[in-house]
Amino acid sequence: MTTMRITINGKAYGPTEIRDELSMNDYLREYLGLTGTKFGCGMAQCLSCAVIVDNPDGSSQTMPTCIVPAKNFAGKSIRTIEGHAQNGQPSVLQKAFVEHFSFQCGYCTAGFVNEGQVLLERLAKKPVARADLDKTIQEALNGHICRCTGYVKYHEAMRDVILADAKRYVS
């Protein structure tokens, strides 16, 4: 058993006693009712379960929740899909995904939003050359499976968000 404390979207949760075998995905969805983080495969193949982990050093990365025990997230600060919009206003990336019609059934979208957001924050710290942009987006998003869209509009939205603020993201 582990005592689980975690910060999610700026809010502190716990302490809660949890089994060591409890997956992070089940902790979010069954214990906390935060079902914006999805369950797609349980094998880290589709990444519809991915959340953002914000590290103390200021870096962030996504992490699947289906194949990681909840206890590995103890003490961490994470962002889920529910935490991107502020006061009902979607983030720049969320707005772009909507306006580009990037998703259809929407089940993979939380994962794409988290991954895309981490990419934006990474590029803001370390921009890439324009010539490397498509490859960079592809490498970042390729872990995410979508069955509806063929990915094209997700990538277009990412590119447009980045190029709309090229000074910040592109060197």
């Binding site: 880290a44 193949q45 194949i67 872990g143």
Partner: protein, 204 residues
């Protein structure tokens, strides 16, 4: 079984291993064992005995548990069948994964059996020069001995790595859904020790 027959068997096994087709990384199965160094004492010729000892150790080195992270290319393999890793991840600049897909993101500090997910604190790919996929036991032997391709290690350091490294040790506690490497890490160490003491001869 008399010594001659056993020798015949061992030699033919070595021969068979040497001729093994490129992709045969057959798992030895959960109950596969390793022979003790003593059981090779009936091989009179020291060089032949040395090669046979390494061939036995080669059962571990060519098992899925090892070859999967010693791939020929830049993509790991997975499962007992040694198929290409899904999702399609790659070694990245440092062998620990691409920027957006670090190995440790999914393969965390320990196995997570509820999901059948293997893990270890240092999960990563062996460098390209240490690729074992598609190689015979003899070729792997030569490679392992070559400082240019074994990370500049002496034979003693090779032995230490194989016997004591905890990532290597993972191969015998690989978690749910995965067959262990044959024998135990200690037994592997004993075989390699005996191999070194008999001149570290490589099987052909």
């Amino acid at each position: 079984m008399n010594a001659a027959t056993r020798l015949g068997l061992l030699v033919s096994m070595t021969f068979a291993l040497a001729l093994a087709p490129a992709m045969s990384v057959k798992s030895a199965g959960p109950t596969a064992t390793l022979a003790t160094p003593e059981s090779f004492s009936s091989i009179g010729d020291t060089a032949a005995r040395s090669a046979a000892l390494f061939a036995e150790a080669g059962k571990v080195l060519t098992s899925a548990r090892c070859v999967n992270c010693h791939p020929a290319g830049d993509r790991p393999l997975q499962t007992d069948a040694g198929r290409l890793h899904q999702p399609p991840v790659e070694r990245g600049a440092d062998g620990f994964g691409a920027v957006s897909a670090r190995c440790s993101t999914c393969h965390q500090g320990a196995n997570f059996d509820p999901a059948g997910m293997p893990g270890h604190a240092h999960w990563h790919l062996a460098p390209r020069e240490m690729a074992w996929q598609g190689k015979t036991v003899g070729e792997i032997c030569v490679q392992v001995k070559d400082p240019a391709r074994n990370g500049g290690r002496t034979l003693a350091q090779i032995h230490d790595h194989m016997t004591n490294d905890s990532l290597v040790g993972w191969a015998w506690a690989p978690g749910y859904g995965r067959a262990s490497a044959p024998g135990t890490q200690k037994e592997l160490g004993a075989l390699l020790d005996a191999w070194i003491k008999t001149g570290a001869v490589c099987p052909t």
